[in-house]
Every structure is written in C-alpha cells, then in structure tokens.
C-alpha cells in the first residue's frame, strides 16, 4: 500500500522534471521566441554515418578483408581487394549503400583494423536514394577516428613498404634457414 503511494508520488513529481526528449532539429524557448537549432549530446560511440579511417602513418587502414561485408545483416557493403606494389592490401572500391544500412555497428565490431567506424553523425537524409550510395572517396577521412594508436600492419606479419619480416610487433628477425646450429 505504502509502496504504491510512493510510486504515485514519484510519477507525480515527474510532471515537473525537465524533458529528456530533445526537440529536434530546433526548439523555441518560449512560445513567442524564434526557434533555435538544437544538437543533442551524442556519445562518441553513437552509431551514425560510417567512415573509413587511416592508420597513424596516414595510409588507408582498410585492408579489404571483407569481414565487414560478410557480417553486414543487410549486405549493404561491397568492395574489391587490390594491392600496392609492396603487397599492402587496400580496397579498389568500397561502397556502402546507406539506403539499406541499419546502423547496427556490426561492421565496426568485425573490422580487424579499426578502419570502419560509426560516427555520431546521423544527418544523412536525402531526397534521392541514389545519393545514399557512398563510395570510398565519400567514406575515407584523413584521420584515425576513435582509435588513435592502433595500426594493424604493425601487428600482422605480412610485409609492406617500410616494414620487413621480423619488424612487426613481437617478431624476432628472420631466420637463417641454412644455419645448422641446433
């Protein structure tokens, strides 16, 4: 009985609490005032428009491994692998069809290189669906995004320009296979 009364009282108090819901995109302070633009706080891990980021060394992070594409529940990512003359993999094209994307963030979770990241930008509406097809040039930014330090190529053993065998993290120099020492 008491607890019910307490609940009723709490509900009553909420009548005077400030709104969590933000009037978006604009709000009037008073009924006579002009509407002003409102941008609610969005956490860095908010799942909005997708970007492709770069390594700390400024090169493309994406290695065209296709994991984001296969994990995508609506299959809206398509890409093709190619490589530079030193064997570094990167996507020849990378396409996201945002008119299909459900912003689930699975691609970001699957990505082994932190290349693909969701950002707090949700304002990507278009009148024409065709404009929701983003190619690599629309996705790739000049920065590292949320994970400033990670560099996949310094962890993985494959050679790229500027990193030979034995120079990745935790690697010893290449073996001399002709050595007969035990």
């Amino acid at each position: 009985m008491i607890s019910q009364l307490v609940s009723l009282w709490k509900v009553f108090l909420h009548l005077f609490a400030s709104n969590e819901t933000v009037q978006y995109p604009s709000k009037k302070k008073w009924w006579w005032s002009k509407p002003t633009k409102v941008m609610p706080y969005l956490a860095p891990r908010y799942r909005g428009r997708i970007i492709l980021t770069r390594d700390p060394d400024g090169e493309e992070r994406c290695v065209a491994c296709n994991l984001c594409a296969v994990v995508c529940p609506v299959d809206c990512i398509a890409l093709q692998k190619t490589e530079d003359e030193n064997g570094r993999w990167y996507p020849e094209f990378f396409r996201i069809n945002f008119s299909r994307c459900i912003m689930c963030g699975m691609c970001e979770e699957a990505c082994p290189t932190y290349a693909i990241q969701l950002t707090p930008d949700f304002e990507i509406c278009e009148y024409d669906r065709n404009n929701l097809v983003y190619e690599k040039e629309h996705l790739l930014i000049n920065g590292v995004g949320k994970y400033p330090d990670y560099s996949f190529w310094q962890v993985a053993g494959k050679t790229i320009f500027g990193k030979n065998k034995g120079e990745a993290q935790n690697e010893s120099p290449p073996e001399d296979v002709r050595s007969l020492l035990p």
Binding site: V70, E83, K158, T159, G166, E175
Partner: protein
C-alpha cells in the same frame, strides 16, 4: 569390416583404414592437418590425438594419433574425453605461437583449414608472450604466392610435390622450429602440378597468385561445376566468379578421374575468359581489321539471309561443346559439316575410336590407370598433352610400394612404412618417345626415336609378346616381358606426333596381350577437350576437303564455330579458302586470325558463361555449367545458330534452351547417353529449390550494383540449368554433377570435400559424374597396319623433317591466352640434335628462321633428337597449324634476340 567403439558408440568401419579416416567417414568431427587421403599418414602434426582404451574396463586409456592407428576390430577410443580435447587444444596453441596473425590479409582466410581447426579445438586466447620467429618469403613464379610465416610444418607440401608429383625443386630446410618449405633460391616452381599446393597446404603459405590479384573471399564467390577445357582428360573443376569476372578454378573431386588434383594448365589456363580480346558484340567487317557493331537483330537477319540463300559449309570445333557442334551440323547438314579438326587429327581420332571399339580392352579411368602394374607409353608425351594422366602414371609406378606393403601386412596409409619397405621398387613403366619428358625419372627403360621408328618398336613389342625371337633390342624385350607378366598391363599412346602407325602399334600391342590371355587397358589421348565428342559426331567433310571446296568458289557461306582455322591446316590453304568465300561468318569468344577475316562475327560464350557437354578421352560425356551470365551480347554459339536458322524459316532448330539442344544431341548416333549426364533444368533438390551458385554467406547483395541502380535487380532466373544465381536452396543431396562448391558447417576449407564423398577418398556422393558414351568390346575390326611411307631423314643442306613437340604451357590454344600461362610459357622453339646444331652453326639461345613457317624459333639442343629431324613447338607463334611434310630449310637468324625470360627476374624478397 571392423567394429570400433568411439565414445561408447559402435561403428562399422573398413579394417584397412586408420582411425582418423574411419572416424571422418562416419561423420565424426576430428581435427587433423598432415593426413591426406591421397598422401597417407605421417603423424607429423599431432592434431588428431584421441584416447585409446585397452578394453571396456580401461578408464585411463592412452593418447594415440588416430591417423597412425589401424581401425582394428574392437578398437575403443574417445574423441570427446577431456584429456584428448585438451591435448588437441594445446597442439593448436603451439602451432599458433609463431603464427603471423594476418588472416585479414591472407588469401586462405575464410577457407583456411587452420582457422577451422583452431575453432574446432576451441583455442581462442593467445597466452604465449614471446617473440615470433619469422622467415623471408620467396618468389615462386606466376602461379603461387609464398608466405612462410603461416606454416604449421605439416609436411603436406613436400609430400605432395616431391613424392606424389615428382617435383625436385621444393624442399624442406632448417631444423627444430625453423623448418622452411621452399626452394634453394627464389625462382619458378617447375613442376606441372605446383598449383595443387594451394589446395594441399592447409594454411596460407601457398596461395593462388592470379586469384590474389583480384581476390575475393570464398564466401563471396559464386561458383558452378565445370569441366576443364585444357585437354582431353576433362578434369572436373569448380569455376568461380564475382562482379562478372572469372576469379579462379579449383579442383572438383572426381573419384575416377582427377581425384584431388589438377594440372597447372587447367588451374591457371582459364584466364582467357577475362581477356580484353573477347568478342563482345555482333560485328560486321567494313575494312581490314575494322568492324562495325551491328544490332543483334540486324546481325541475325544477315546470317538468316545467308542461310536462306543456301550453299553453306559449316566448320565446328573440338574446343566447342557437343551442343554447338550438333547445332552447326544440323544447320548445314552432315555433308556440308566439318568437325573442325585438322585432317590429320581427325583421321587419328577416327582411328582411335575405331581401335577402342574393336578391342575388348577397356579405356581406363585415371583411377584404373593408377591400378595398372606395367605400362608402356608409345610416342605420346602425356605430361604435355594430357598432364593429369602423367600424374596418375606416377602413382601407377609408385603403387608397387602399396602392393609390396600389402604382402608384408603394412597398412596402405602408413606412408613412411610403405615407402621404406618398397626400397625404391617401382612398377615398370616403359617410355618410347621422341624426346625426353618430365616423367622419364620413373621409367624402367627409355627409347627416344623418331615417330615411325617408335611405331616399329610398338609392333616389335607386340610380336615379342606373342613369341620372342631372342634377337629383339633390349627395350622391346624388357617391355614385352613386363607387360606379359603383369596383371593389369596398360598401353598409353595418342595423336600428338600425328603418326597413324603409332596408334596402330598401340592397338597391336593390346591385341597381342589379349591373345596372350591378358586383360590389358588402352588409353589413347587426343588433343582437345572435346576432340572425342567431335570424333563421335563426325562430319561429311574433312578439313582439307572443306577448305578445297570453299577455295574452289562453289560455296557461298562458310560458318566457323569457335575455331581458328589457321591452327587446322597450312596457312596458304586457309588463306585461299577464307579469302575466296563470299560470306565468312565466325562465332568465337576470342579475337583470332580467323575471326579478323570474317565478314560477320558473333560473340560466343566460353565454357564459363554457357552450359554444355564435353566428351573426354574415356568417351565420358560431362556437363559444364555457366557460372555467370555473359556480358553484353555474348551468347552460346548454338543459340546464335538456332535463332538465325529459325529466322530463315527452318523449323528443326527451334531450340530455346540448352536442354532442347541436348535432345537433338541425344538423337545423333552414339550420343544417347548424354541425357543421363546430369538432370535437366527442371530439377529441384530436396529443398525444392534449384541448387545455389552462391554460398550461404554471400555478401554485398544490396551494394554490388548500387552504383548503377539503387533498386536491387531481381535475381535473374536461370532457365537453362538446375542451378540458380542466388544463395537460396541447399547445396546438399543433389547429384554430384551439380555440386557448385564444397562447404559444410565448421568446415569452411576445401577439406570439407569429404562431406561430399560416399566415404573419405571414395566416390563422390551420388556417384562420380559423367556417362561413358562408348562401350568398348569387339565392335568392328581392329584397324590393320597401314603402309607407312618411309621418308629419308633430312639434313642441313636438304632441309629438315619437322616433328611436332607439345608444351603444357603454350601448345593449347585457349590456355595460352591466359596471362599467368603466357608468363610461364617460353618463346616458340625448335629442338635440334647436337650434330645438326653444330653443322647449322646454331647454339642454345640462338634463333633459326624458317621461311616455310614464316617465323623464327629459339634453338634448343637435345642429345635425344635424331639428326635430320627437328622438333617444333606446335601451337606457338609460327607453328600454330599442322606442320608441313617434306624437307624444310632452316637457317640461323642473325637478327634474333631472345625475349627476356620473365622468370630470371627475382622479385625483392618479402
């Protein structure tokens, strides 16, 4: 049969197997690496550990390697017990200590046996904090990538490459945890079967280089069952595509034919499908080498008009499907149809068919070849003309070890035991050939001579099998004795020297063995994927008569289907014919010299874009399925012909589907069996859907075409085949001819093939595909020895006699237009005897020009070549067609500069 108990459940298994083999055959999941059904067990990886119990009361048991333990009656083991599981998990953990962790940039990723086994054993967290040992990689040529850090030292690569395929340039180096699998120095892996390392290696050490260039994960490939178009063996393949581009060719297991392995011509020779030389539109020639694109309707109307006017000669092709050949034959009528083989080739293929019919000797499948115990190769260079046969012959010879092991009670899968017991003893293989070949190392005896002498040798062997006079040469006597004393003697020969007498001699040896009470087998090789199909269809005109008839001006229209006539007869003859005829219509996939002379060209689909049937050397009809829909106006040749004929008012070519054409094929003589090769387009699997070409994890469907059209197109419905262009449906329980890829839950790699076999390493589930069209068995008479005209040998002053020499990379028309094969093949060459070379003043590396052939050839000197004769690389520039008879003058070409060998370049390590 033995009863074994696994985790308390009884299973009936084959006693001759090891426990791993038996468990996998029963559908149990047991991880493994080093064991391979074709390579046996060596116990190198320790991954297949199980606990074996002495009896029902034993609760502790002991750890054993399943692959090294026979499946004896009453064996009790546990796969699931905690100790066994823990042991297997730690094995993986050890193997992964030095692993480079680069799955995202590894071509094996997504179809990696190491990934699968890691997941299966449950090793998920890396605990080892030490440094990883690393290796430098090597440049291995245009076919393979090398990434040694991924190796888990299972030894499969060297066991396949050296023991199974007879390679010599891949070794294992180093000691302890520094084992290195590679060559002594960077360079091209030379063995003709090197591509199989891609599938044999359970990790990403050896990966497919051309595939990697435009790489796609296995889950994103859409694939179809296909037949290799590289030679008359007809190996079964999976062909895969994405974004309308052919990506790769993989082995499709066939228990009787290719088993687990393909040759490199087949695996890397399909790149011509993506060629920029593809004909994509209907074209009309306006001036030399310049074509106007025509509307499809206009093109068909023009062809229809020509058909209506009559006087049409049709030339088919041994590289085109049965369907296309029968369509053209129906259109022009038997009397005006030429199979498209050169006259010499056709008469040989006819001879082969006549011989195979007349003898009661069976045509062996490749698994039959492997079970032979004495072999005579007469005049055929199988390693270069039917490569997979050579690999099978290597096993024939090695299988002596299996027989000896069987007598000594050593299990057949005990690889080390079997080979050390045999002490190098081999089944006898006798090779009588023009030149040394890559399988000479396993021959009991060799004879190198010119073709007619080889034929004589064959007849002498036949005589000696009947009755030895004692005065025979050594080779003849030994070969005859070996064949006589064998249980399953095998004779191999073929058309590559273009010598009738050689095939006749092979027939004579078989006949002699038969009359000596033996049950011999006879394998006769023809040059192309559908040579036997063309031979069985037959035509009223042979190539020379057809060309003569056309050149005489009595023919209004010549229709050539998927054939480059310049490869089928001497140049002048062809030019004369093609330039005389009023209308030359060519249907082809690639731009060829013939196509560039055509008045009207139609773009023909390749094997990857169309569905059809090839007949292999066993006369086994096999269906290949279109992998992707052809781009632009490309269509199967039979469709162009049928449409034009229908437009012209013909009612006997009213075909709309490939199944309709197949009915027409089946109605022709010898061809009744083709209907049974595979189900028709209406076939639905157990899911009541067509069989999907795409894997269940195919990605990117809503983005692939979004740049062109934001509205996803409706999946195109495949009305031609029982396969669909989607991921809908089940890849399960369908006839084996319809298997588009192998994949099973938990088994993403090609090791999952055992889920599609009746038992591991046995026949494909549902039976091995294909139907043999010819039953051998005493139909007609054995062709008698024809009187062969002996001609004198040539010389430097009189000119030389030319002998055709085949090369695995370069002699075949289509594969030699695939970029990696081009990179691997040499320039056109001529082989001289040392004496002739000296007299001519030529040394290795110089060039000789031949005015008759109008080309220059690189000089090779070979001591086995007979003086007065010259071996010429056929199929190469300058020697595309039949070689001229007679004495041909040659001279050193002072201006010749050898084309730099691309393999001399050593790529920077890394």
């Amino acid at each position: 049969m033995a009863t074994i108990v696994v985790d308390g459940v009884e299973f009936e298994v084959d006693e001759g197997q090891n426990l791993l083999h038996a468990c996998l055959s029963q559908g149990l999941e047991l991880p493994y690496f080093c064991w391979h059904p074709s390579l046996g067990s060596v116990g190198a990886c320790r991954q297949c550990a199980v606990i074996q119990y002495a009896d029902a009361d034993d609760t502790r048991g002991r750890l054993t390697m399943a692959c090294m333990t026979p499946a004896k009656d009453g064996t009790r083991i546990s796969i699931q017990t905690e100790t066994a599981k823990q042991f297997r998990a730690s094995v993986i953990e050890w193997l992964m200590e030095n692993h480079p962790h680069d799955c995202p940039v590894c071509e094996e990723g997504g179809e990696c046996h190491l990934q699968d086994m890691t997941v299966m054993t449950g090793h998920t967290q890396r605990r080892y904090r030490g440094r990883k040992r690393t290796f430098e990689n090597q440049y291995l040529g245009p076919f393979l990538n090398h990434e040694m850090n991924r190796c888990i030292t299972c030894y499969r690569c060297v066991r396949f490459y050296n023991d199974y395929a007879g390679g010599t340039d891949l070794q294992v180096f180093g000691s302890r945890d520094r084992m290195y699998f590679g060559r002594t120095t960077d360079g091209v892996l030379e063995n003709e079967f090197s591509g199989n390392l891609i599938e044999v290696c359970p990790t990403g050490v050896f990966t497919d280089k051309p595939f990697s260039e435009s790489y796609t994960r296995k889950w994103d490939l859409s694939s179809a069952p296909s037949i290799c178009a590289g030679c008359a063996v007809g190996c079964n393949t999976f062909v895969s595509e994405r974004y309308g581009r052919l990506k790769r060719v993989h082995n499709r297991y066939h228990g009787e034919l290719n088993g687990y392995f393909l040759c490199d011509r087949g695996r890397f020779g399909a790149g011509f499908v993506n060629s920029t030389d593809r004909i994509e539109h209907v074209g009309e020639r306006v001036e030399d080498d310049f074509f106007d694109v025509l509307d499809v309707e206009v093109g068909i109307a023009k062809l229809a008009e020509m058909i209506r006017q009559g006087d049409v000669v049709g030339i088919g092709s041994p590289r085109a499907s049965l369907e296309t050949n029968v369509a053209l034959k129906t259109l022009v009528g038997e009397a005006q149809f030429c199979t498209g083989m050169s006259s010499a080739e056709e008469s040989l293929v006819d001879l082969i068919i006549q011989t195979q019919r007349a003898t009661s000797a069976d045509i062996p499948s490749l698994s039959d070849v492997e079970s032979a115990d004495a072999v005579l190769i007469l005049g055929e260079d199988v390693l270069n003309t039917a490569p997979r046969v050579a690999l099978a012959l290597r096993q024939t010879v090695r299988n002596r070890a299996l027989n000896l092991a069987g007598e000594a009670g050593i299990p057949q899968w005990q690889d080390a035991g079997v080979s050390s017991h045999a002490q190098g003893r081999l089944n006898p293989l006798f090779i009588a050939s023009v030149l040394p070949s890559g399988i000479d190392d396993i021959a009991a005896d060799l004879l190198h001579d010119v073709p007619l002498n080889l034929a004589d040798c064959g007849f002498a062997i036949a005589a000696c099998i009947g009755e030895a006079t004692g005065s025979e040469p050594d080779f003849v006597r030994k070969a005859a004795a070996a064949l006589r004393s064998a249980q399953n003697p095998l004779i191999v020969s073929g058309t590559s020297t273009r010598t009738r007498a050689i095939v006749e001699a092979a027939g004579a040896v078989v006949a002699a063995l038969e009359s000596a009470g033996k049950v011999p087998r006879l394998l006769l090789v023809a040059p192309e994927a559908n040579s036997f199909g063309s031979g069985l269809i037959g035509g009223g005109l042979d190539m020379n008569t057809a060309l003569q008839r056309v050149a005489s001006g009595s023919t209004k229209t010549l229709i050539v289907a998927e054939n480059d006539i310049f490869r089928r007869a001497e140049r002048e003859r062809v030019e004369q014919a093609l330039c005389t005829v009023e209308n030359l219509v060519v249907l082809d996939s690639l731009d060829t010299p013939t196509a560039s002379l055509a008045g009207l060209v139609f773009p023909a689909a390749t094997f990857a874009e169309s569905t059809g049937t090839f007949v292999n050397y066993e006369t086994r009809a096999q269906r290949f399925y279109c992998v992707f829909e052809p781009r632009h106006e490309i269509a199967p040749s039979w469709r162009w012909l049928a449409q034009a004929a229908t437009d012209a008012g013909r009612d006997d070519l009213g075909w709309t589907h490939v199944d309709d054409v197949l009915e027409a094929v089946a109605a022709s003589p010898n061809m009744a069996g083709v209907r049974a090769v595979a189900p028709d387009a209406g076939y639905l699997g157990s899911s009541l859907c067509k069989t999907p070409r795409e894997t269940p994890r195919f990605s990117g469907r809503t983005a692939m075409n979004a740049n062109v059209n934001i509205h996803e197109p409706k999946t195109s419905v495949d009305e031609e085949t029982p396969l669909s262009f989607s991921m809908e449906g089940l890849n399960r329980d369908q006839p084996s001819a319809l298997l588009p890829f192998v994949w099973a839950p938990g088994w993403n790699s090609n090791q999952s093939v055992f889920k599609f076999q009746q038992e591991v390493g046995g026949a494909a589930a549902g039976g091995d595909p294909g139907v043999r069209l010819l039953a051998s068995g005493s139909i007609g008479t054995m062709p008698a020895r024809s009187a062969s005209v002996r001609s004198d040998r040539g010389g430097v002053d009189t000119g030389f006699r030319l002998i055709p020499v085949q090369a695995i990379f370069g002699s075949d028309e289509l594969s030699s237009r695939s970029p990696p094969v081009v990179e691997r093949s040499s320039a056109a060459f001529m082989i001289f005897s040392p004496m002739d070379a000296e007299r001519l003043g030529a040394t290795q590396g110089m060039g000789v020009s031949c005015s008759v052939l109008g080309a220059t050839f690189a000089v090779t000197v070979d001591a086995a070549m007979k003086s007065g004769y010259v071996g010429v690389s056929v199929g190469f520039t300058g020697a595309e067609g039949e070689l001229p008879d007679g004495l041909i003058g040659l001279a050193v070409d002072p201006n010749y500069r050898p084309t730099p060998n691309p393999h001399d370049r050593v790529i920077a390590r890394g």
